[in-house]
Amino acid sequence: MKWSEFFVTGEPLIYAADVAIVLTMVGIVFVLTYFKKWKWIWNEWLTTVDHKKIGVMYIICAVLMLFRGGVDALLMRAQLTAPNMNFLDAQHYNEIFTTHGTIMILFMAMPFIIGLMNIVVPLQIGARDVAFPYLNALSFWLFFFGAMLFNISFVIGGSPDAGWTAYFPLAGNEFSPGVGNNYYAVSLQISGIGTLMTGINFLVTILKMRAPGMTLMRMPMFTWTILITCVLIVFAFPVLTVALALMTFDRLFDTQFFTMANGGMSMLWANLFWIWGHPEVYIVILPAFGIFSEIVSTFAQKRLFGYKAMVYSIVGIAFLSFIVWVHHFFTMGAGPEVNSVFSITTMAVAIPTGVKIFNWLFTLRKGKIRFTTAMLWSLAFIPNFVIGGVTGVMLAMAAADYQYHNSYFLIAHFHYVLIAGVVFACFAGLHYWYPKMFGHMLNERLGKWTFWLFMIGFNVCFFPMYFLGLMGMTRRMYTYSDGLGWTPLNVVATVGAVLMGIGFIVLCYNIYYSARYGERDMTGDPWNGRTLEWATASPPVHYNFPVTPIVDDLDAYWVMKKKQGGFQVKEEELKPIHMPSNSGRPFWISVAFFVAGFGLVFKWFALAIAGALFIVLGLILRSFENDDGYHIGVDEIKRTERAARKGA
């Protein structure tokens, strides 16, 4: 292999990216060395097993990936603004919509949600950490190195270019001979393993580590949605694991799963992909529902309306999510019986979702609403998501879907559910829990600027796409000719995308501004919260709770404040606290995964085997390890608590 094949060449944009990457890496090394922070970053972050720090790292990565995916989106919008543009060529455009979709779903939405759940769930259930802290670190680093492997594809070897769904035969060797789709198969596999372990970890955590008195029906709604999300992760991700493995076999070892000859069936890929893919959509949207439920309840200053109905709705949505997958390929030709059944199951999803919408509205009714930034995102979610949901029901009608399928109507639909649902929730959750993460608030004025810019930009960008779709503009076309009448709406859409980009920049500035000048949260409970995470200091001490809180109702902390004026800790009740030790092994095992994955991508099997051996070595060392963690003594807890509560 020549160097010119190894590195992607020929595009000025790529060269600029090369320079940017090298400069960033040099910059990071320089800063760490200059400020003598290597030891700090290793001890405090790279080896940590603290769920709060792991959560923060997830969110930092998610924001970076939002930037990457957002740049992809802006490049696409730039290319489509006017007819017959030559800003991007067809190949480059294919790569960009592929990486945009893959990154936004798997490396932005997923880690953002997982980051928030890492930070919040153990606090909400009154636990000191997750069930398997070491595994949690491994999950994060597998996600991280999976994402890194995916991201280097655009400068080394070439990006995948068969769409985020990677349909065969296009994604097979015949039509995608480069390494791009190997990157897709291998990097998603690595981060998918991490996600599966997160699912198991949080399932056990929520089932077994709740504070005494917190029955299932007293769990905060966010925790409920995470519990169900984890069920979906555990039972859906293995399907992706297998599908990607079969893809890898087809591409690297010339097997015949999805090929065009020797009995292969390319459409089987679509079937397997969506058996995972549909539950995956709910894996990101259910936690979003949970976040909105917490925020709506907190800022309407009322108990969530119809708590039980909410729980049953989530369970119902989760159940239905496994029996709707064919609606992603109604046009494949499976026949009227199959299409009818899946059409009906799909429309049934609207029922529990509708229940939830009404419950949020009734929670708002007669509430003393406080219009904070987090609340604005939540309020905007309801009408915007309903637009996405209703157009979803339109798409669910199999016969009508033949008209909408893979048009911009579909693009508009899923951006209305994914952005108005998931991205709004991520921003809402970020503003809401930011003081809990970092000890200071995000500036509200800047936050509202972000909200209005992004929310208006979003509608300006995607609402026209419904009409573009009905006018015949199909998905994934890299350019279009003049005289089709599509130009005005495309210009409008690009303006909207730019507004969203500006909103994102304001958010980033807000993070910087608030770190320097933001209001410090001395109370631990800046929003007058209802759930147990607000009973801790902001940011919480590393063991979270000095004593395990006792729960006797829903909205545990709210009730605590009413009855006892807050979470009361008597110093004589303190006992030594057991904590897990930090470990560098999750980090280097994940590096080994990265190396093995890189070897597979380029079919350098010696490298892949070497990486695999290191992974096995890591597992063996873990098995033989005899580390029971450590204890924090009562005196140290007293000192820490006095320092943490000085402000309260």
Partner: protein
Amino acid sequence: MGEAVHRYDETMPLEYRTEENRLNILGFWIFLGAEVVLFATLFATYLVLFQRTGSGPTAQELFQVKDVLIETLLLLTSSFTCGLAIFEMRRGRLAGLLAWLLVTLLLGIGFITFEVREFIHYVHEGATMQTSAFLSSFFVLVGTHGAHVSLGIGWMIFIIIQLLQRGLTVKTARKVFIVSLYWHFLDVVWIFIFTLVYLLGMVV
């Protein structure tokens, strides 16, 4: 992780005595749930593709009852002996535990040997993973199971070493129990491979 980690409950079997052990065992059960779906996806792939033999041999031409039956009996017996190992462990007998684990291990190695011979035999007949969709899905489904068994063998060896080093403790008991769950689970998967791959392949 609270002080509960060190709370002992003497009435329970060793492997359930600490909170940490109980969390680990439940976590492993949930992992097995994920494994069920993983194998289900491979079965789905196989059942969609198994009659799509292209120009290669069909299942009926390939499979032989005797080989399959030997593999089945070896694995089924190993699952039984693995159960006996746990039985001995719960009676507190380290020697019995080790003996049955060793028998299980040998039966597992026997199973893998027969399976590898079966695969080599097929390849010599010109039936490789690349020949047809049927054979791709056959080798990947049965091979994934075989890889799991091989991993289980390696895992069990390391657990036996730890038993010899540290004796029967709360921690080693948990590890033995978890590897036993894994081993039984592989037999569960094999029951379906026996039924849906071999028996079905021989009659359709």
